[in-house]
């Protein structure tokens, strides 16, 4: 589904952000992307989305990410931004949800059906005609996920989906992520959430893959995590 082949990237010369990354994610997998601040998580996502260009090859569904394939690639990828205010730029939730399907040439009727179906699936029907600047942080995050789902992407990328949410809303988001069937790549510092939502974890450190394996193994490995400026998830840390 997604394949990175020897991908490197640097914003400035001699300070590489990502170095020689290679991995693949298969269809239906749910992968957590973890690492300390500045490890390169966001850069990796931006490369995949074609917002940045680096060296090496990135394949989505067998298609190499390049200027020519961008429309095709982006249509398959749904990206939930960390700041929902950046994601939701239209006045109402509904208008934000129809933005992408109509841009991709889906008919008005089908768009309407998709919007209603997604809202129903996420239990957000009441939000449909609400104004984006008047809904709460938790609602906004859920609405942002709904906007992306209305695109019917094959892969969903999320950047810190649980940041700044209270426990209740965080739980709702986690349950929503678990209920999705698409391929998922989730970048976060919320390791408990990663443990709940992902089967596999890729640990980035200083632009390289420090570990790649089952979530339950990597997230239990205190020595590995601490070596890369991370800590055990709270639920596994136990009480001192």
């Amino acid at each position: 589904m997604i394949e990175f082949r020897n991908v490197s990237f640097s914003y400035e010369k001699d300070t590489p952000v990502l170095q020689d990354l290679s991995f693949r994610i298969d269809a239906g997998e749910s992968v957590g992307l973890i690492g300390a601040n500045g490890a390169g998580k966001s850069t990796l996502m931006k490369l995949l989305l074609g917002l940045l260009q680096g060296q090496g090859e990135i394949l989505v569904d067998g298609l190499a990410v390049s200027k020519a394939t961008l429309p095709e690639i982006r249509r398959r990828l749904g990206f939930v931004l960390q700041n929902s205010d950046h994601q939701m730029f239209m006045p109402t939730v509904y208008e934000d949800m129809i933005f992408a399907p109509l841009n991709y040439g889906v008919s008005r009727e089908e768009t309407e059906q998709r919007v209603d179906a997604v809202l129903e699936q996420l239990g957000l029907t009441a939000l449909k005609h609400r104004h984006n600047h008047k809904i709460s942080g938790g609602e906004k995050r859920m609405a942002a996920i709904a906007t992306v789902l209305a695109m019917e992407p094959e892969v969903i990328l999320m950047d810190e989906p649980t940041s700044a949410l209270d426990p209740y809303n965080r739980r709702i988001v986690i349950n929503t992520i678990c209920s999705l069937s698409q391929t998922r790549l989730i970048a976060s510092h919320d390791l408990d959430m990663i443990l709940d939502t992902c089967d596999r974890v890729i640990l980035l450190s200083q632009g390289r893959i420090a570990a790649d394996g089952p979530a339950r193994e990597i997230l239990r490995d205190r020595a590995l995590l601490e070596a890369h400026r991370m800590e055990l998830p709270f639920c596994l840390a136990g009480r001192e």
Binding site: G78, M90, E95, H133
Partner: protein, 267 residues
Amino acid sequence: MNKSEQALSALAEMDELAARQSPIHRLHPIAKLLVTIAYIFTVVSFGKYQLSGLAVMALYPVLLFQLSGIPARTCFHKLRIVLPLVMAVGLFNPFFDRSPLLYLGTVPVSGGVISMLSLMVKGVLCLTASFLLIAATPIDSLCAALRRLHVPSLLVTLLLLTYRYVGVMTEEVSIMTDAYRLRAPGQKGIHISAWGSFLGQLLLRSMDRAQELYASMLLRGYHGHFHYAAVNPFRPADGAYLVCCIAVFALLRFVNVAELLGRLLVR
């Protein structure tokens, strides 16, 4: 509450009013927009001594307030912003235009007083009309109406996006103002040493924000077009409202109803 917070609550208040339901809210946005413009045009076109003609025009906002259930109190609260300038300009009229126009009993009333009063009445009526328009029409329907009236899409989209981010940025300014005040007790505003960095910081962050916003548009297939929510069709009732209002305004402009009514009683 600091100034930005006041602005935020004013915005929220307008949104809340526009989301209500009433016969006026249900009217087509194009009809409402055109009627409002016609009304303001009519009011402003009254001569400076035609106070009683203007008085009849006041029935329109009164009727609309009643039909829409929008509280007039909110509106009058807003008048404080722009009325001072109108007042300042009008206040000189009584000094310059002193020829008596009519006598109330034996007290002469000069043309300047009449023109000052009519200027103030005009100010209140015009503002009330635009207030009623926006209080009964959500911004997205208004933008859709502007598109239908062939206002360039670039401008309409810009209005829509800016409106969306006015809330976000104002909130940020509000937080920064509070943070500044907490560390600068007794200062009325931003000290000169921070003049540049206060807004400058915010500006740099907004540029990054714009980048991210553009990315989020691109990732959802943006290629130069914005799609708006479909607007309800223009019903015959909307057309009737539009035609009737404009006809009545024209009538009131040329026939002084107050004068006629008065003549029934006074000879």
